[in-house]
């Protein structure tokens, strides 16, 4: 098991390397550089800008720039942001991480609390109106773009009803934090709630039709024991994998939702980075998200072996 984990972690290194190369190339292909925006200011002498470019190494050929960046990272340094002058990328990311984690956890909570019971219920009541209603909700959740749902949520629950705030993270108290998380959290969790619901429904149905469930019933176990012990334990195995993927996606996939709700998280920071060609920031966030996704997948694989005795890593 430990050997397996070590091997997986070693595989991370080339994967991360590849990801950074790709993202760096894409960032370089984008027109302009961090100083492009300043050119419009007529008070700045173009020669000064050119000097700054030289000083920052922006005129170096891209491979040299990448190498320089890589050397910094090798020393545990994500570099300075070019847009937020005087601030390091670490500082910027660390300031946003708690908000993003809050949002991710809240949205995962919504997904589990709504998606799992709904999926189980839907499977138990297969082909009844309740099942059709749940399935319809599933399609709705999957097909609704989250920026659009977010806008509707803001309009209805923030402007019309005034129940929840439309933007920001609040004053830092727990209650205010949760209050501010409700709308973006539900918006972010909507699609995955629908996915989990559909997944659980089909898994439960699948398992309920299996031979060992028939055996469990033939033993005289009650419907409750059959469902919550024998069926669910097996149905949740693939869901755990799904959650591993989900975790990384939640951290990165919040870009749109954070923008809609002006939520100061990593997604919004990433967007600012892209808009300003702040490549150290883009690369830094990209690295963090990449690591999170890989670690999430690793945790999912380890949990997989914990819940399914047929799987052994050696």
């Amino acid at each position: 098991m430990y050997k397996y984990i070590l091997r997986r972690v070693l595989v991370f290194i080339p994967m991360l390397f590849l990801v950074t190369v790709i993202v760096f190339t894409l960032a370089m292909l984008a027109p302009g550089d961090p100083l492009t925006g300043q050119v419009l200011d007529p008070n700045i002498d173009p020669e000064v800008l050119e000097e700054r470019r030289d000083a920052l190494g922006l005129n170096d050929p891209p491979p040299v720039q990448y190498w320089n960046w890589l050397q910094e990272v090798g020393q545990g340094n994500l570099g300075d942001s070019l847009h937020y002058s005087g601030r390091t990328v670490e500082e910027l990311i660390l300031a946003r991480v708690p908000n993003t984690i809050n949002l991710a956890v809240f949205s995962l909570f919504v997904t589990i609390v709504v998606g799992l019971p709904l999926g189980i219920y839907s499977a138990r009541k297969q082909y009844t109106p309740a099942d059709y209603a749940a399935t319809t909700f599933g399609f709705f959740g999957l097909s609704m773009p989250n920026f659009f749902f977010g806008l509707i949520a803001i309009y209805v629950f923030a402007f019309q009803l005034g129940w929840f705030p439309a933007r920001g993270t609040g004053d830092g108290t727990l209650l205010s934090t949760i209050h501010h998380l409700v709308l973006p959290g539900i918006t972010l969790g909507l699609a995955s709630t629908a996915i989990y619901m559909r997944y659980i429904r089909s898994e439960v149905l699948d398992v309920m039709g299996s031979d060992y469930i028939r055996t469990a019933r033939a033993k005289g176990l009650t419907d409750g024991t059959v469902l919550y012990k024998h069926t669910l334990r097996n149905s949740l195995i693939p869901i755990i994998t799904l959650m591993g993927f989900e975790f990384g996606t939640l951290l990165s996939g919040a870009v749109v939702v954070e923008a809609v709700f002006s939520f100061p998280g990593m997604g919004q920071l990433f967007l600012t980075g892209i808009q300003n060609n702040d490549f150290p920031l883009i690369m830094g966030i990209n690295l963090v998200v990449g690591i999170t996704i890989l670690v999430g997948n690793l945790i999912a694989d380890i949990l997989y072996a914990v819940v399914d005795p047929r799987i052994r890593y050696d």
Binding site: D211, T215, A216, A218, K219, G220, L221, D308, P309
Partner: protein
């Protein structure tokens, strides 16, 4: 051997289980009656689709519903009507008074629980044992079905065992609460021939030791010859012949039974080709008029398609559902 003077252990009377799929009605079990006595092994024989498994699942009330429904009839265990029990009362019968073994040992055990946990469940449920005691009992149960290192086996998961071992576990589980009746639905179909004999012997041995009864569902006449005291031949959801095992193999009466026996390979036989019954079992939603076997029957005549023949007693303990044996004034 059967003892007709005693009250039957299991009495199935005019059982009808239908499946409603789309707007079709599949009459999977259509008026089946039979009884099983203590100490007896009764075999239900027939091709796939003849309704034998549905009959056994109906006795256990494990028919998936919808689309299945037990429409009519009575299933009595020691005089107690099972079809009138609530689901909750029925859970006290399953695994306790009636144990059941299934065809697919490879998939019939839950992959995520240990053998011990799965064996302990019926003991906790029916005998009110504490988990710890039940696990200790599980070791004894495994020893009873011939596991040499039962102490370790209880801690293992199903995927660590072979098919034959899993079927032994299934038997141990079905017998955990000393049921009066063991229903075995093709218990040996998925197993190697050598393991088959072991499993059959084991079931027989346990039956004799505990004076219980076995209802064996099979399409393997070899298994029937080896184990059954009495045989019920099913076709198209109905019993077409009911006879003591010895009588059935020597004097089959129904043309279908005859066909089944003819299609059995015989080592000493010089025949080049194996006999077979032409055609297939009609689908349960589209049975022919009259005798359901008539379209495949080599003796079929015009009258066969007029009405479903009655199941008649032609000799003591021997019933046949065929027009050939109906009293029609001297013709055969």
């Amino acid at each position: 051997m059967s003892n007709e003077n005693n009250e039957a252990l299991l009495e199935v009377d005019n059982l009808k289980t239908f499946f409603y799929i789309d707007d079709k009605v599949a009459r999977a079990v259509d008026g089946v009656s039979f009884s099983v006595h203590r100490g007896e092994t009764v075999a239900l024989v027939g091709e796939s689709g003849s309704g034998k498994s549905i009959t056994s699942m109906s006795i256990m009330q494990l028919i998936p519903s919808p689309p299945g429904k037990i429409e009519e009839g009575s299933v009595k265990l020691e005089g107690k009507e099972l079809l009138k029990l609530s689901e909750r009362q029925m859970t006290k019968v399953r695994g306790n008074e009636i144990g059941m073994i299934f065809q697919e040992p490879m998939t019939s055990l839950n992959p995520v629980f240990t053998i011990g946990e799965q064996l302990a469940e019926p003991l906790v449920k029916h005998k009110g044992m504490k988990k710890k005691d039940a696990k200790a009992e599980a070791v004894k149960l495994l020893k009873r079905v011939g596991f040499p290192r039962a102490e370790e086996t209880v801690k293992e998961h199903p995927h660590q065992l072979s098919g034959g071992m899993r079927q032994r576990v299934m038997i141990a589980m079905a017998l955990a609460c000393d049921p009066k009746l063991l229903i075995a639905d093709e218990p040996t179909t998925a197993l190697d021939v050598t393991i088959q004999a072991q499993i059959l012997d084991l079931m027989q041995e346990i039956k004799e030791k505990y004076n219980s009864a076995i209802l064996m569902i099979t399409h393997d006449l070899g298994v029937v010859a080896e184990t059954a005291d009495r045989v019920l031949v099913m076709y198209g959801g109905q019993v077409v012949e009911n006879a003591p095992s010895k009588v059935l193999f020597t004097e089959p009466k129904h043309p279908y039974t005859e066909g089944l026996l003819d299609s059995m390979p015989d080592v000493g036989d010089e025949k080049e080709r194996l006999e077979s019954i032409k055609g297939t079992v009609p689908p349960a939603h589209n049975f022919p008029e009259g005798c359901r076997f008539a379209p495949r029957c080599k003796y079929a005549m015009k009258e066969c398609t007029e009405a479903v023949p009655e199941l008649r007693e032609i000799a003591p303990n021997h019933q046949v559902r065929c027009i050939l044996y109906e009293d029609r004034g001297g013709e055969k």
